[in-house]
């Protein structure tokens, strides 16, 4: 490490990461959460001098481990830095060294020792049908495990769409009656990080916020952190100008598709999906690394009722239409209301009225003349 002026404990904590890289990471974290740059220093302090690494218990239900996989991708912090230095990962079925009763003991011990303090992360949906027997962990229904652990947790994070509302297992016809964590642990504050898989930084930023400030970030009505799920994909999409100008790809591989036009007519769910994919992208390899960037419409994985629910290439409504890029003309073109038939009928009516009036006046005169001549 270059910087020899760092105090020993800090150098030890950083484990081969240069100071500059570390401060960069803290700054990026702060910015990705929409916090002021100064918060980076606070984050650095919280991470280098944690009062205690917060214990984390990670439970798996009906899932594919994709959400765990996604944590392999970020570089700041990397997975090993996260689980070895930042948090104390007491139980995680994919990463546990021990297994069987040994692992279950570690779980029970951690729950007992850290009651009210540990962070509970749930990955995967929770089946309720027939007492929850369609997902058993150590012989116990998963739903009971979540209820027991959730009751003692300091903070609960539901990672992935399955944990957030049921995700893929809850798709119709939902044979196991799968639900998400909020439906099982009702009345508790649950942070949901939906996505299939979710962006790892949305999860990491939430954890970092909790470690730094001792409280959760601002959440919306579905428990999603506002810094990540506050806006629609449509609002920050790089292809938005094409939408506004009415330039659409009509078929995969057509002229418009090759020119990067809007994918709305190919079934993009961006207009109804809240997520920050277009802003923070995936896998840190540069621009365009997200579904729409690669030329495929968004399928709405972060939005309940959209992902795994609406047909993949169906067209959505636009809940809040904004103006078209072209303005209205000075004189709007309207179909002429005067058809030939209508004009003919109107002329006939006018003619008849004039004729009748003339006749009436004439008669008035005639009757007078007659009267005069008879008297």
């Amino acid at each position: 490490m270059k910087d020899q002026n760092l105090p020993d404990p800090m150098r030890e904590q950083l484990k081969g990461v240069s100071r500059r890289d570390f401060m960069k990471f803290c700054g990026v974290m702060a910015v990705s959460m929409g916090l002021p740059m100064g918060a980076g220093v606070q984050i650095a302090e919280a991470i280098t001098n944690p009062k205690r690494r917060p214990p984390v218990i990670w439970l798996h239900g009906q899932e594919c481990t994709g959400c765990t996989e996604t944590l392999l991708r970020p570089s700041h912090p990397s997975l090993e830095h996260l689980i070895l230095d930042l948090i104390s990962l007491d139980y995680h079925e994919t990463l546990n060294v021990g297994s069987g009763h040994q692992a279950e003991d570690a779980l029970l011990k951690s729950i007992a020792n850290n009651a009210g303090e540990f962070i509970l992360v749930v990955e995967g949906a929770i089946p309720l049908k027939d007492g929850g027997i369609y997902c058993l962990i150590g012989g116990k229904p998963f739903v009971d495990l979540v209820k027991e652990t959730g009751a003692k947790a300091g903070a609960i994070i539901a990672i992935g769409s399955c944990a957030a509302w049921g995700g893929i297992p809850s798709s119709p016809p939902n044979p196991t009656e799968a639900v998400g964590v909020p439906q099982v642990l009702q009345g508790k504050t649950i942070v949901t990080i939906p996505g299939c898989p979710p962006n790892p930084y949305n999860f990491l930023s939430t954890v970092t916020h909790f470690i730094t400030f001792g409280r959760l970030p601002a959440l919306d009505h579905l428990g999603r952190p506002k810094f990540a799920y506050g806006r629609l994909i449509h609002e920050n999409c790089e292809r938005r100008p094409h939408f506004d100008a009415g330039r659409f790809a009509e078929k995969f591989g057509d002229e418009g598709h090759r020119n990067g036009y809007c994918l709305y007519r190919l079934g993009c769910k961006g207009p109804v999906t809240h997520a920050n994919c277009p802003e923070i992208l995936f896998n840190e390899v540069g621009g365009g690394t997200w579904p729409v960037g690669t030329g495929h419409p968004c399928y709405g994985c972060t939005e309940q009722g959209v992902g795994f629910n609406m047909p993949l290439y169906s067209i959505t409504d636009i809940p809040q239409p904004t103006p078209f890029a072209n303005q209205a003309p000075i004189q709007p073109s309207r179909p002429s209301p005067h058809s030939t038939a209508a004009v003919a009928v109107a002329s006939a009516a006018v003619g008849a009225t004039i004729g009748a009036s003339v006749m009436a006046m004439k008669k008035l005169g005639d009757s007078e003349d007659k009267k005069n001549s008879s008297s």
Partner: protein, 325 residues
């Protein structure tokens, strides 16, 4: 009595003659513009500054809780083609030839923002038989009271700018028109369209100060860079400024004198009838109508003549009857 053709025609001609003699224009000779209300506020719209972003339309819909007005089949955009019962404010685009040059009448384009002009002497207020439309005595805002409206739509016919719209699709229809965000003004805010305009094309402020600003702009040298106030202007506001190149203005302030003047003023780089603003006389239509009415009824002249004619006809009728007996 039987109405004789000859007498009927005589009476009609008499009335016409009286109206002709009254000569409304002469009676109106002393007429001048109605004075500005004491706290008259309005909008200065500068077409040369407008970039056509339509932020004002979005903001207007939000502030007034108006529905989407889609003219495309898929309903992808809020893209009204004209003012309607769902749209109080609209940006329209004049385009000619190649449509490349801003504020040019040939091969160019220009924007115009259409909404209520808040006339000093509004025809709609004059035409409204139940005072559903009123002009505020302090701010001069032309307001609409749906409780009083009887749905006669005289205001639609009376308005020279074609502003009031009727909710044809509703079972309990109302008249819809811009009220200068009166509900926001009462909270000390400014009209929603002006509060979001990024370039100062829609500028809110006291009408007299806006007029001064408009005159200043007409005298600016074309092509220099100049500071233009944004959002609001006047002694009550701390204005923000943006720097813009001065365009070639048409030397006329639309709304300064049109039909007696209005509280919404407009500047443009192309002639006003090109961007859909009608050529109108300086005299307000209300004055004209009032003049005719007052002239006819001056000294009860018209009723006297009509009464006289009636008496004459009745007497003649009686005479004829007696003779025939």
């Amino acid at each position: 009595m039987k109405l004789k053709r000859r007498d009927f025609l005589k009476a009609t001609a008499g009335s016409g003659l009286l109206m002709a003699l009254a000569q409304p224009s002469k009676i109106l000779a002393h007429s001048d513009k109605k004075a500005l209300p004491p706290e008259a506020v309005g909008i200065l719209y500068d077409s040369t500054l407008c970039i056509g972003c339509q932020a004002c339309m979005v903001s207007c819909k939000k502030a007034n809780d108006m529905p989407i007005d889609s003219s495309d089949v898929e309903k992808l955009w809020d893209n009204p083609q004209d003012l309607s019962a769902k749209t109080l404010n609209i940006i329209k685009r004049y385009s000619e030839g190649s449509g490349q040059n801003k504020d040019s009448e040939t091969d160019g384009y220009a924007y115009v923002k259409r909404h209520c002009m808040h006339c000093l002497d509004p025809s709609c207020v004059s035409a409204c038989p139940v005072s559903a439309l009123r002009k505020d005595k302090q701010t001069g805002v032309v307001t609409y009271d749906k409780g009083a409206c009887i749905g006669c739509r005289y205001c639609q016919v009376a308005c020279p700018f074609n502003i009031p719209k009727f909710e044809w699709e509703s079972t309990t229809p109302e008249i819809v028109k811009c009220q200068l965000c009166n509900h926001l003004l009462q909270q000390g805010e400014i009209s929603a369209c002006c509060s979001v305009c990024p370039t100062g094309a829609s500028l809110f402020g006291p009408v007299d100060e806006l007029l001064t600003e408009a005159k200043r702009r007409l005298n600016l040298k074309v092509g220099i860079y100049e500071q233009f106030p944004v959002n609001a202007f006047g002694k009550n506001f701390k204005s923000k400024y943006v720097e813009r190149k001065v365009a070639r203005y048409v030397q006329h302030i639309y709304g300064e004198n049109e039909v007696g003047g209005s509280q919404v003023l407009m500047l443009a780089g192309v002639s006003f009838n090109k961007i859909g603003l009608p050529d109108l006389p300086e005299e307000s239509f209300v004055r004209l109508a009032d003049g005719i009415q007052y002239a006819i009824y001056k000294g009860m002249a018209y009723p006297m003549v009509v009464l006289g004619a009636l008496i004459y006809m009745v007497r003649k009728g009686n005479d004829t009857k007696k003779k025939s007996e």
